[in-house]
C-alpha cells in the first residue's frame, strides 16, 4: 500500500512539473573546442584498426574499443 502511495506521489510530482524534457545545455555555438581535431574520438582512422589488431592478436580480451572492427584471422 505504501509503495502504491509513493508511486502516486511521484506520478503527481512528474505531472506537476509539466514533464518538461531537459534542454541541451551546450549550444551549437559553444562547441568550437569539441570540434577541434584534438577532440576526435578517432583521430587516425588508418591507425586505429591496425593497433586494435595488434592488441586482439596478443590479448584474450576483445571488443568495446569503438569503431567498426572486421574479421581478424588472428588464430
Amino acid at each position: 500500500m505504501k509503495m502504491r502511495t509513493a508511486s502516486l506521489v511521484i506520478l503527481a510530482a512528474l505531472l506537476a512539473s509539466g514533464c518538461a524534457a531537459p534542454q541541451p545545455w551546450v549550444k551549437p555555438y559553444e562547441r568550437a573546442n569539441l570540434a577541434h581535431p584534438l577532440m576526435s574520438l578517432n583521430p587516425h582512422p588508418v591507425s586505429s584498426p591496425y593497433i586494435r589488431h595488434v592488441h586482439d592478436a596478443r590479448e584474450g580480451a576483445r571488443g568495446a574499443e569503438g569503431g567498426a572492427g572486421g574479421g581478424c584471422g588472428c588464430n
Binding site: Q23, P24, W25, V26, K27, P28, E30, R31, N33, L34, H36, L38, M39, L41, P43, H44, P45, V46, S47, P49, Y50, I51, V54, H55, A57, R58, E59, G60, A61, R62, G63, A64, E65, G66, A68, G69, G70, G71, C72, G73, N75
Partner: protein, 386 residues
C-alpha cells in the same frame, strides 16, 4: 565462470533499439566523415616476430548523402616466437585484408554497411556488418549500434584435407555524450559469440611425461567450440585551453572461458602552432587466465579442454607511446585541402604470470622463469584531405 550473454535476448534488444533510432529520425544534424586518403607503413617487432606492411585507406563522398571507403591492408609475418622455437621452425606468412564500406546519411541518422575479407594461406575470415548512429537531444547525444556476422575457414598447411569453420556474431552499442563545452564521454558495449573450431591447429600444450628426455611431451590443444564475451568501456575526453586534449579510458571484459580483463588508458595531445601536434599515451592491460589454461598439465589428456596459448594465460602488459604529426599543406581552394605526415612509436612490455619459457633447458620442468618480452610498434602515415 564469466557472464553469459544470451544471443536471443541481445538480438531482441538490438532490434528494439534499432527501431527506436529509425523512428526518431528528424532534421539535419549528423555529418558524414571527411573525404581523405591515408597511406600507412606499419612495423611490429618483438619476441623474434616481425610483422610489417602497408595499409591504404581511401574515403570519398558521392553526392551529399553517401560516403564510400575502401581499405587494403597487408601483413608480412616472419615468426620465430617462443611457441615456434619450442615446437616448430621459423615460418613466414602473408595476410591480406580488404574492407569496403558505405555510409548513408538520412536526417540525423547515418546507416553504415561494411564487408571485410582477410586471407592467409591457412585462414580466411569474412565479416559483414550493418550499423546505425543517430544524433539526439540537440545533437548533444549520439547513439550507435551495429550487428556483424563473421564466417571463417580454418585450414592446416600440413594437412590438405583439414578444413573447419567458425561463425561469429557481434553486437555493439555505443553512446557519445557532450558533457560540457570542453568535455565529452563515450560509452561502448560489445557482445561477441563464436561457434566452431576456435583453437589453433598447430598449437600444442605440454604435459608431464617422465619417459621423455626433458620430462615433458606435447599434445594438440583443445578448446570448447563456443565462446561468448562481453566488453564495456568508458572513455572521456577533455579539451584544455592551451590547445591540448586529455583522454582517460577504461574497459571491462569477461567471457565464458573464465577470462576476465581490465584495460586502462591515458592519453595527452598538444598542438604547437598550426603545423605540429605531439601526443603521448599509456595503456595498461591485465587479464586472468582461461579456466582450461595450464602451462604444464599433469598428464596426457588431463582434462576435456586444454590450452597453453599465452593469450589465454594470466598476464599484464604496459604500452607507452609517443606520436608527432606535421601538417605541411593547407589550401582554401582547389582539389586538395590539407595533408599531414604522422609518426607513432609504441613500446610494449608483456609479463606473463603462468607461462614459462619451455626453451629454458637449465631449469627443472615447470620451474622455468615466467616468460616476458618487449615489442616495438612503429606507424608512419601520410594523410591527404580533399
Amino acid at each position: 565462470m564469466g557472464t553469459r550473454a544470451r544471443p536471443g535476448r541481445l538480438r531482441r534488444a538490438f532490434g528494439t533499439l534499432l527501431a527506436l533510432a529509425l523512428i526518431a529520425g528528424g532534421a539535419q544534424g549528423a555529418i558524414l566523415p571527411e573525404d581523405r586518403s591515408d597511406a600507412l607503413y606499419h612495423l611490429y617487432t618483438g619476441d623474434e616476430v616481425t610483422v610489417q606492411g602497408p595499409s591504404f585507406l581511401v574515403r570519398k563522398s558521392v553526392g551529399p548523402n553517401v560516403s564510400l571507403s575502401a581499405n587494403y591492408y597487408i601483413d608480412f609475418v616472419s615468426s620465430a616466437s617462443v611457441d615456434v622455437r619450442a615446437t616448430a621452425s621459423e615460418y613466414t606468412e602473408r595476410r591480406d585484408e580488404q574492407t569496403v564500406s558505405a555510409d548513408y546519411l538520412h536526417g540525423k541518422a547515418i546507416v553504415t554497411a561494411a564487408y571485410t575479407r582477410s586471407d592467409e594461406s591457412d585462414y580466411t575470415a569474412n565479416t559483414a556488418s550493418i550499423g546505425i548512429s543517430q544524433d539526439f537531444f540537440g545533437d548533444q547525444t549520439t547513439l550507435s549500434m551495429s550487428y556483424a556476422r563473421g564466417w571463417d575457414t580454418v585450414r592446416n598447411n600440413a594437412d590438405p584435407d583439414f578444413e573447419e569453420s567458425v561463425d561469429r556474431q557481434t553486437y555493439r552499442l555505443g553512446l557519445t555524450q557532450i558533457l560540457t563545452r570542453n568535455a565529452l564521454v563515450s560509452l561502448n558495449f560489445e557482445a561477441i559469440t563464436d561457434e566452431g573450431y576456435l583453437n589453433n591447429p598447430y598449437r600444442s600444450v605440454r604435459f608431464v611425461d617422465p619417459t621423455a628426455g626433458r620430462g615433458f611431451s606435447y599434445q594438440q590443444e583443445r578448446y570448447p567450440e563456443t565462446r561468448t564475451s562481453g566488453a564495456a568501456s568508458v572513455r572521456g575526453k577533455y579539451f584544455l585551453p592551451w590547445g591540448a586534449s586529455a583522454t582517460v579510458g577504461y574497459r571491462w571484459f569477461e567471457d565464458t572461458w573464465g577470462l576476465a580483463a581490465h584495460t586502462g588508458e591515458l592519453a595527452y595531445a598538444q598542438s604547437f602552432g598550426e603545423d605540429w601536434t605531439l601526443e603521448a599515451n599509456y595503456r595498461y592491460y591485465t587479464q586472468t587466465g582461461a579456466d582450461f589454461y595450464s602451462d604444464l598439465f599433469p598428464r596426457r589428456d588431463a582434462q576435456n579442454f586444454l590450452a597453453r596459448d599465452k593469450e589465454l594465460s594470466a598476464f599484464d602488459s604496459h604500452q607507452f607511446g609517443v606520436g608527432l604529426t606535421y601538417e605541411f599543406f593547407r589550401r582554401q581552394q582547389g582539389t586538395f585541402k590539407r595533408s599531414s605526415v604522422t609518426l607513432l612509436v609504441d613500446q610494449m612490455l608483456f609479463e606473463y604470470g603462468d607461462f614459462r619459457d619451455a626453451t629454458d633447458t637449465g631449469a627443472p620442468v615447470g620451474e622455468e622463469d615466467p616468460f616476458s618480452f618487449q615489442a616495438t610498434v612503429v606507424q608512419l602515415f601520410f594523410s591527404l584531405w580533399y
